[in-house]
């Protein structure tokens, strides 16, 4: 089902396929933690083509490959490669494809991962293409929720913060809706989710600009960063950013089992005291990037 497959967009994965990824990811956890050794991908080479800076995504892919006994080649600074000489992406991909067994790509232009997948014979995994898709982030977010609650259907999930520019929340909203969760959108007026994203959701989500409206009802608070540069007026930014901050006091009103997630890096949208509450899951979520990416690598390379 997965061998040789490209992972370009979350929309191409069915619920059954996501369940398989989660099941394999669960088995990978002890290996991801270094508690168990495994050489499933021994002799395999992953090429990481990072045309844009990234720490978490790139390093968790590298960790995933290394934990499974494989090796990694690649670049994270295209100015030092032949791309700066004007090579097309199609050519770079064809060459790197011939050096490796699987490619992970991050690129500033939308649709670049699809193009890479067309030119590569081996599987291509999209690690973010401009404002487009970032399916492995969505999978690790879903995996974190799945781990916590077992089922995603019927859960109440609030997406909070910058819902306009954040690509993470766009694919996550799509996937949550596809899996049957109830979505609550919490954002300042200026940063509301674009209508073309809402149009693709199965049910119309509830929209509000106040966390207080949803805090008592939700199982998951998915918080994103509100960037200063989105606001023409810095005082307006201060006012808005302050009203979307997650604090231990706010969480007193939340359900006992509610969890707080964040794709990281956070700045001050979640107070550091929240780290010590039973609700915090963002570091767990960041760790989950490793087993989920291990699962994807093992599946597309056909070893599990």
């Amino acid at each position: 089902m997965f061998k040789g497959r490209d992972i370009v967009s979350i929309k191409e994965l069915s619920k059954e396929e996501m369940d398989i990824i989660f099941e394999v990811a669960r088995e990978m956890i002890p290996i991801a933690k270094g508690e168990r050794k495994n050489n499933l991908l021994e002799g395999k080479i992953l090429a990481t083509l990072f045309f844009e800076p990234s720490t978490r995504t790139r390093l968790s892919f590298e960790s995933a490959m290394n934990r499974l006994g494989g090796s990694v080649i690649g670049f994270s600074n295209p100015s030092a490669t032949s791309i700066s000489k004007g090579e097309t992406l199609a050519d770079t991909v064809r060459v790197m494809d011939s050096y490796s067994d699987v490619i992970v790509i991050r690129h500033p232009y939308e649709g670049s991962a699809r193009l890479a997948a067309e030119f590569a014979k081996n599987p291509v995994i999209n690690a973010g293409d401009g404002a487009g898709q970032h399916p492995t982030q969505t999978l690790l977010d879903l995996f974190t929720i799945h781990q916590e609650f077992g089922e995603i259907e019927g859960l109440n999930v609030a997406l909070i913060g910058d819902l306009k520019y954040g690509r993470t929340v766009h694919s996550l909203a799509y996937a949550l809706s596809y899996l049957g969760a109830n979505i609550y959108l919490v954002s300042p007026e200026l940063l509301r989710m674009p209508s073309h994203i809402i149009r693709e959701l199965k049910e119309k989500p509830m929209e509000t600009d106040k966390i207080e409206d949803v805090i008592e009802d939700v199982d998951v608070l998915y918080v994103t960063r509100i960037q200063k540069e989105r606001f023409p007026d810095p005082t307006e930014y201060k006012k808005v950013a302050g009203s979307y901050r997650i604090t231990p006091e706010l969480l007193k009103k939340a359900k006992d089992r509610a969890i707080v997630m964040h794709p990281l890096p956070r700045v001050d949208e979640i107070e550091s005291d929240v780290d010590y509450t039973k609700h915090a899951r963002y570091f767990q979520q960041a760790f989950n990037g490793v087993p989920v990416r291990m699962a994807l690598l093992a599946l597309v390379l056909g070893v599990v």
Partner: protein, 154 residues
Amino acid sequence: MEEQTLKVQKIKNGIVIDHIPCGMALKVLKILNINGDIGSTVSLVMHVKSRMGCKDVVKIEDRFLEEREIDKIALIAPTATVNVIENYKVVNKHKVELPDEIVGIVRCMNPRCITNQREPVVPEFKVVSKNPVIIKCKYCEREMGVEDIIENIL
């Protein structure tokens, strides 16, 4: 209806594009790249009353259409028919048909789409809806409506 159509003379040789959705005739001319410096006669009737309500008709003398051009018409006027006229007679009549995939006749409107960079690929779209026409870029997934299509025809 016959009376209405006769507002424009019959042509000897050329094409008659009939059943164009009301108000779209000028856009049909635009995507066919027909402007003031064409050598032959072009006649155009807009808002002709018909059984279906209202339509536009375009007649172009001494001009024939390539398949690619017919596909372009289908994109913005999916109800149109193209009649080929030879010696005042209709020798060929066909309905344009909007295919499920559009390859190489429209560019993606998203300036940050990889197909708008210097890459060896032809823009490709899936037809998401035929009425109204909405197409989606196979690469960046951006959706485009009729107005966007007209602006980005190749």
